[in-house]
Subunit: 310 residues, 2 copies
């Protein structure tokens, strides 16, 4: 495994491997796992899948200032380079790209990549500019690594939707591979930010995965609609005394259309996402569950649309 | 020469040549000339240079709806496919990529690439959204063609500045090659839009290149400042009865900083651009001249800055 800090070095090394079938997979493909470091088993599962599907695996570790708001946790985002390297080595990563901020932003960046429609809701509403920062840095990283396949965890379902939309719209030559969220034994979605939680908050945070599990059942029950499911999810979360809800929303996926707009927008999505962001103390956690689309709700929305003469 | 209309065909054909030294140049490089067609000798000079520097030359012809405003000339933009093909063949182009709108925008595009700082002035002010459309389609074309070098005419000096900034900011792996403006024998800058001009307007339009020629002298004269040079340029243009000035501006290049801001912005540019856009009847023409930066003006701006306590 090589640790690389400059763009030139990484490109030179990857050019020697690009398109040349090596190793046991013999695909000649380059797999890319972009991360902000402080790796956990969720990240490891992305590397493991990349290793299975590609000849060369590149992991990037870069805490991107562009995607943090002024009052967010950029400065205190957890870092542990030595542990990260050990995990990457264990997973068979070929190159870790660890640029510093000066390497990624040598001058004031004037170019922004933004994706409308899927970035205004959920975390986009709570964190203005966040997804512009994500789309811009992912564009940069894709241009630096030029991967065949890039691996993203579905814990950030909205991020996956944004990156997929951008890739398609801009004809980027990379396949986005969404990978399942990994969870602790008790159900908490793995996240680098979990280390912020006190023992008590850690225990309370279980309401998130519980509520999502219940919601899967509730959303299939007759008589329920998206509002009543959301209400029940909120109630369950608020049973935890420290929980402060940022949002709980149910949208079609991946276009992130709200049920109220379904008839109007003529959506073609066949899935929904129940997504939430909740603060425990200073720590903001996100989680979500992808559900089959509820056709009854869509019909209801269509009827409402027809009645109002649209 | 192959005429290609789909992205898949073009990629497959280019993959067979990419990085493999062929022909007399033996560089293995792919050169790219993006155009909106209705080719003239200015375009031909780009192809000729690409041919000299690269093994494979790709010309794209696509009138991009995204960069036209609602009241602009998208629908009547001149087209002549057969003549374009003949010119491309004569210049030794290997592939003409002529996608239709459906190929470039199969669904509503939600992703925008925008470059701040260099897009608000000049044509960016007169044509809101124009440079977002340019940056976005150029990103798409770069991702489709994946060229080593891309050739742009300096008649659109601002477009060159935008594309260079974007390429640098997003780490795109392509070298931008700015090429000199080609002119008719009497000095008029070559443009596909020149065909719109009536015989009388065509004659009057000569004031543009004349004024730029004079301005080069004026800007070196003692006692002149940017305002007085601009005034003299405007006066000369307005000697043509049909001329309606959109803008005449003198900015540093390529950051497009106005002389008033020079001290403040601490610019590092070593050139200036005198740029103009003028309408003759319904036809809007642009032209510009790159000049060495006038140090005296910069000092003056700095003194003014110092006096006002900045």
């Amino acid at each position: 495994m090589e640790v690389v800090t400059t763009i030139e070095e990484l490109r030179a090394a990857l050019d020697l491997r690009r398109g040349k079938p090596l190793g046991s997979n013999k695909t000649g493909k380059i797999g890319f796992v972009p991360t902000m470091g402080f790796l956990h088993d969720g990240h490891a599962s992305l590397m493991e899948r990349a290793k299975r599907e590609c000849d060369t695996v590149v992991l990037s570790i870069f805490v991107n200032p562009l995607q943090f708001g002024p009052n967010e946790d950029f400065d205190r985002y957890p870092r542990d380079e030595e542990r990260d390297k050990a995990i990457a080595r264990r997973e068979g990563v070929d190159f870790i790209f660890m640029p510093d901020v000066q390497t990624m932003y040598p001058q004031r960046i004037r170019t922004t990549v933004s994706v409308s429609g899927v970035t205004e809701k959920l975390c986009g509403a709570s964190r203005p500019g966040h997804f512009d920062g994500v789309a811009t840095v992912v564009s940069k990283l894709f241009n630096i690594v030029q991967p065949d396949r890039a691996y993203f965890g579905m814990k950030d379902a909205q991020q996956v939707a944004v990156v997929e939309q951008m890739t398609k719209d801009l004809n980027m030559r990379v396949t986005i591979v969404p990978c399942p969220t990994l969870r602790e034994a008790d159900g908490l979605a793995m996240s680098s930010r979990n280390v912020y939680l006190s023992a008590d908050e850690r225990k309370q945070a279980l309401v998130l995965s519980q509520a999502l599990g219940f919601a899967e059942k509730w959303s299939a029950e007759a008589g329920e609609d998206s509002e009543s499911v959301i209400r029940r999810v909120r109630n369950h979360i608020e049973s935890a005394p420290s929980a402060v809800i940022d949002y709980v929303e149910l949208l079609s996926y991946p276009s992130l259309t709200s049920t109220q707009e379904w008839s109007e927008a003529g959506i073609t999505d066949d899935r929904m996402v129940l997504a939430l962001a909740v603060k425990f103390g200073k720590t903001r956690l996100i989680d979500n569950r992808i559900l089959p689309i509820n056709k009854a709700w869509m019909n209801k929305a269509e009827e409402a649309g027809a009645c109002s003469g649209r």
